[in-house]
Subunit: 242 residues, 2 copies
């Protein structure tokens, strides 16, 4: 997770995951947005250890947002050439020497940890032949290593995320797992660029974790912890320090 | 709100609000993302009418997401020419006749209401000389018509939104207002393309509203209502139908 380096920024007009659009309507209005897949996310509670299972991952978008905030002028990708950043590490490996002559100096570049966030296990709805529950089940297995029967997934609710940019519909599930469901280490698919660390948050620390702003996290984590508090007690006890 | 028509889709490589990037790191990984401003949002509670004040607006990103979902093939902006959509209304005004010959037939195009979502009052952090509280205050005034002293804004928490795409930091506030703070109609800035309707949700209906999936809304609405329930009772009573 801390070995993110050799960061280059280049313009992007399209990718498999994002397609930038501009929409014009009512003659005068125009709006820039991104087409993106819908999403599923899963609040996982381990009933053996009484811990929530989250994922921690390096998010390039968060990292770039932090990097940009630390610079006086917004980062603009060059049209003809990429901006090349020096590695964040003080010791520059031989093969990275080219980075030292780049336009963006390493003093501007935050450490990789600036892009790491805590999130619910989640994934894109990119398999039309699978139900939302089946996609959620696959994500729990791939990212967190638990094999949960589809029937044990309970829908919490659905909502719109990124209404200003992607407009994706996100469906959130709740899954109770036990150590018996654990069949692997999780970690995502490294071959697809996923670098995921599985993290346990003990139930009695959950609300403090949720509202600790020094821990970068998504709204999904905060909401689902408070949802658990409202819905799963008195089945489970949880600190009410909100 | 229902008069959104003449929708055209064109490619977008950059705008004042979104800048598509591709980030390469660790030689093998690459990631597409969008640079975007940070955000503030405000849960507004009117202590005179015991209602939450939300905004309802047409979101092109949500609309396009719905439109795309209703089509067998993903919507791709043409490189040389825009896709032009026929207006959704059965009666086509004279000046819109060109739309009838477009590639996208009106049978595919959902009504404008498919893009309307309920949200917290919110705005971009795009004024470097103003504090988050001052920007939040301006948004409450512009969008909802209430003049709230900065000192009355209470921070709920902050979190990352759109971690896969924008990585924006979002800070959420709570503001209690009364009818005495009401100085205008709100509605946003129509000259900047904002078409905002101010909506009241009575306190006793809030939790039913939050979890009614037929009402399109953001996670911010659901979370802030459940936060209010956990934190503002017993000061105010709220239905616990979650």
């Amino acid at each position: 997770m801390e070995q993110i380096n050799n960061i280059k920024v280049v313009p992007c007009t399209s990718s498999n995951y994002l397609r930038p659009f501009r929409v014009h309507y009512n003659q005068v209005s125009r709006y820039s947005l991104i087409a993106r897949y819908h999403l599923v996310s899963v609040l996982i509670f381990n009933t053996t250890s009484h811990c929530f299972i989250l994922v921690k991952q390096f998010r390039p978008a968060v990292y770039m947002s932090e990097w940009e905030r630390s610079k006086p002028k917004p980062l603009q990708p060059a049209e003809e050439e990429s901006l090349e950043a020096a590695p964040a590490e003080p010791k520059v490996p031989e093969e990275d020497k080219a980075g030292e002559t780049s336009k963006v100096t390493s003093s501007h570049q935050p450490p990789a940890s600036a892009g790491v966030t805590y999130e619910l296990c989640a994934g894109l709805v990119d398999k039309p032949n699978l139900s939302l529950e089946e996609i959620a089940r696959q994500e729990v297995l791939e990212e967190c290593g638990y094999d949960v029967p589809v029937a044990k997934l309970r829908k919490i609710t659905s909502y719109r995320s990124g209404v200003g940019v992607t407009g994706s519909k996100q469906t959130m599930f709740y899954a109770e797992v036990s150590e018996e469901n654990r069949v692997g280490e999780g970690g995502g698919k490294p071959q697809e660029g996923e670098l995921i660390e599985v993290v346990k948050v003990p139930l009695h620390e959950a609300m403090t974790f949720a509202f600790d702003e020094s821990i970068p996290k998504t709204m999904g984590v905060i909401f689902s912890f408070i949802w658990f508090h409202s819905n799963m007690s008195p089945k489970y006890k949880i600190s009410t320090n909100v």
